[in-house]
């Protein structure tokens, strides 16, 4: 079982949009896939028409030996299940903090699912917190959407050193440009040059597109209802790049707790 996280310090940059499309593409490729919505705003849960409710809330979820199975929900797509978000996830940090080895809790919770899923995609809330430390511990690859600006590049570098500080290899954290507006020269320039200059930024990027916004009305990944569109093609390219990374053995070798 491989774990990929869509993560970033900022909100509104395209994490959830990427997570739902990537999860769908993995499921479609035949992997038994789970998308875990960790954001109390429950955007991914909403996009799959699932009710944002987890019995027992954040506290119940992180309890010792609490199997996640009871909370799993099938989506409308074959091979793709969802672990919904719950409003109480806003206190997930506190709940995690009250456990033993609090930074490895997520990893531990996921472990029993290895027989059931080949792939787990984590859709993370924007923050630097205990939740993000857990995500770094659990994920083989962390994919960070970056809006094209020098500032977001600086944050990415900070994040990379934070990850390294946490003892993870540098291959684990990759960035990709999101909401790229080809009409703006700065965006074009960054999209063309950044991947070459920065080893951990992928050349696949997601263009700004109203079709991505329309996912909120369609309530399904854009790759399913507009498979030939530009954003769909971009999500597929991003997926292929991440799949490649996973197959070349990126990410930490499985550590025992």
């Amino acid at each position: 079982m491989k774990v990929v996280a869509c993560y970033g310090i900022k909100g509104g940059v395209g994490k959830t949009s990427a997570a739902v499309n990537l999860a769908y593409l993995w499921a479609k490729s035949g992997r038994r896939t789970l998308l875990w919505d960790l954001d109390p705003q429950a955007a991914a849960t909403f996009l799959f028409r699932v009710k944002p409710r987890v019995k027992g809330g954040a506290k119940g979820l992180v309890k010792a030996n609490n199997p996640l199975d009871a909370h799993l929900k099938a989506t409308d797509f074959e091979n793709l299940d969802l672990l919904p978000a719950d409003f109480s996830y806003r206190n997930l940090d506190l709940a995690l903090g009250s456990t033993a080895k609090p930074t490895r809790r997520l990893r531990r919770l996921l472990r029993p699912l290895a027989t059931r899923y080949d792939m787990v995609v984590l859709d993370c809330p924007p923050s630097v917190s205990l939740v993000s430390e857990n995500v770094l511990e659990a994920a083989d690859v962390v994919a960070v959407p970056l809006v094209p600006s020098t500032l977001s590049l600086r944050t990415f570098d900070q994040l990379a050193s934070f990850a390294e500080f946490r003892g993870r290899g540098s291959g684990q954290l990759v960035g990709f440009l999101s909401m790229v507006d080809r009409r703006r020269s700065m965006h074009r320039k960054l999209a063309e040059e950044l991947p070459g200059e920065h080893p951990n930024i992928l050349s696949a990027y997601i263009p700004a597109s109203s079709l991505v916004e329309r996912m909120g009305e369609e309530r399904a990944p854009v790759v399913t209802w507009a498979p030939r569109s530009a954003p769909a093609r971009s999500y597929r390219a991003l997926w292929a790049a991440l799949e490649n990374l996973l197959q070349s053995g990126a990410g930490p070798s499985p550590k025992e707790d």
């Binding site: 028409r49 699932v50 799993l72 929900k73 099938a74 409308d76 091979n79 299940d81």
Partner: protein, 498 residues
């Protein structure tokens, strides 16, 4: 990730399918995805072992898209295999399938039991948010109606249960019956005939005629499979039917006109005799893996020339068998006119009394003969006791309908323990003798010394098995004659056993 679908019943004309959308719980809708049509071929053993245990096995599609599906008793697909099954014995099945149905098949081959064009429609049941909460599969085949399977989705079991009850409330009942059983005659292969049941007030002549007719049907039905050599059970079952027929005639001979009995008994003996060689070779080959593994390390492999010789002999004997089973004499036997037998009106009171008397005396015979066997009695005395036991067994089975099933089961259980010991004793001897003969043939051919030595070791192993069985006999017989076992027979027949 779907779990086990619940299968719902059929409507002969499939009319309910269109109404499904209307009978769903309030706020729910049905979205039909796609329909596909397949040529489907169902497989089962000759005696329908899969169907009897609630399994369905079928292959559909052609060429590269051909698939074989195993559906379990709950209606869920338990294993899918890409392609069709080339060989049809338990040992040839893909692992996942063998795990589930291997034991059930035993020595039986999978045969085609039905074929039809099947339309498979998949649909989704959606709630008020248009979220899929379960899936439906609707399968229909010409003449076999339609059946709906409800496939629950992870996390939506309650919703699926609601849909299940709604569909059930609309008049569809649960069904685990494989679809092929409902196919029209012609697309489906005939069911094995049901054994007729005896009724206490029946006349002996009618009863024996009916049972013989049944046994003849069994013989006739198994003959094509024995000729085609689908598996070894066809010939075995055919021979069991022959033996049963012979014992029935023997058991009832004092009551029936000898002119009717004798020629028929002669024909049954003939059929038994001409099928013996082929069956013995089948048994030898079936036992071979066990024999191999009983030899120390690499000696097992030295038996390859023996295996080749056996296989060759079996081919030859099956050729002869096929001739016998398609001969006029064979057809004369299975078409025997049982009318005169049926008309026979023996003076013997009720069938029940007659049966109890026959069983009681067969039981007495076993006790008497067994009691005469001492530690230095020759093997033949055990062989003849084995025959008496078989007669007793067939008598109990033959008349079993007339007695309390629990009493029948207990008596058979007691008898079987003794039969197993005697069987082991005699089989090992027969086996050793056959091996000795084969060894001579191997010696005459150009098989190397390894094969001869290994065969010798196998003979020694058989002799050892026989000796073990012989030394155990006394204990088994004491067990069979103990008061509790006698009491079991007494309560079966209602007659005291001295």
């Amino acid at each position: 990730m779907s779990d086990t679908p619940a299968s719902l019943g059929t409507a002969p004309d499939g009319s309910h399918i269109a109404d499904l959308g209307q009978i769903l719980p309030a706020g729910h809708g049905l979205v039909t995805a796609k329909s596909s049509r397949y040529r489907r071929i169902w497989l089962d053993t000759f005696d329908h072992r899969l169907a009897a245990s609630g399994f369905t096995l079928y292959q559909q599609g052609a060429g590269r898209s051909a698939r074989t599906f195993l559906v379990g008793p709950e209606g869920g697909v338990m294993a899918v295999f890409e392609g069709t099954l080339a060989k049809k014995m338990a040992g040839d099945l893909p692992k996942e399938m063998a795990k589930v149905i291997g034991k059930l098949l035993g020595l039986r081959a999978l045969l085609e039991v039905g074929r039809a064009a099947v339309t498979v429609t998949s649909a989704a049941v959606v709630d008020e948010l248009d979220k899929t909460i379960c899936r439906l599969w609707i399968e229909s085949a010409e003449g076999a109606g339609s059946r709906v399977s409800i496939v629950p989705l992870t996390g939506y079991q309650t919703e699926a249960d609601l849909v299940c009850s709604a569909v059930a409330a609309a008049g569809l009942s649960w069904s685990q019956r494989p679809m092929w059983l409902d196919l029209p005659e012609g697309s489906r292969h005939g069911d094995p005939p049901l054994r007729p049941t005896l009724v206490p007030e029946e006349r002996a002549g009618t009863a024996v005629a009916r049972l013989l007719a049944h046994l003849f049907a069994q013989i006739e039905l198994n003959a094509p499979g024995a000729i085609a050599r689908h598996d070894t059970e066809f010939l075995h079952d055919l021979r069991v039917a022959v033996r049963r027929g012979r014992s029935a005639l023997k058991l009832l001979s004092p009551l029936l006109p000898p002119d009717e009995i004798e020629p028929l008994a002669a024909e049954l003996k003939w059929l038994g005799d001409v099928t013996t060689a082929a069956r013995d070779l089948d048994v030898q080959l079936l036992q071979l893996p066990l024999v191999r593994s009983s030899l120390p390390s690499h000696w097992g492999n030295q038996l390859d020339p023996l295996a080749d010789l056996l296989a060759h002999k079996r081919r030859q004997s099956h050729k002869k068998l096929a001739q016998h089973l398609s001969s006029e004499r064979f057809w004369g036997l299975v078409g025997w006119d049982l009318g005169p037998l049926q008309a026979a009106e023996p003076d013997c009171g009720s069938l029940e009394d007659l049966a109890a008397g026959i069983i009681a005396s067969a039981h007495r015979r076993v006790l008497r003969r067994g009691g005469q066997i001492g530690d230095d009695s020759p093997p033949e005395s055990l062989h003849s006791l084995r025959k008496r036991c078989k007669e007793l067994r067939y008598a109990i089975e033959f008349f079993s309908d007339l007695f309390d099933p629990a009493a029948v089961a207990t008596a058979i259980k007691e008898l079987k323990v003794l039969q197993d010991n005697l069987g082991e004793h005699q089989d090992a001897e027969v086996h050793a003798a056959m091996l000795a003969k084969l060894g001579e043939e191997l010696y005459a051919s150009d098989a190397g010394p390894g094969a001869i030595l290994a065969t010798g070791m196998a003979i020694a192993a058989m002799a050892e098995r026989q000796a073990v069985a012989r030394s155990g006999f006394h204990e088994y017989f004491v067990r069979f004659s103990r008061p509790a076992a006698r009491a079991a027979f007494a309560s079966l027949t209602g007659r005291p056993v001295r």
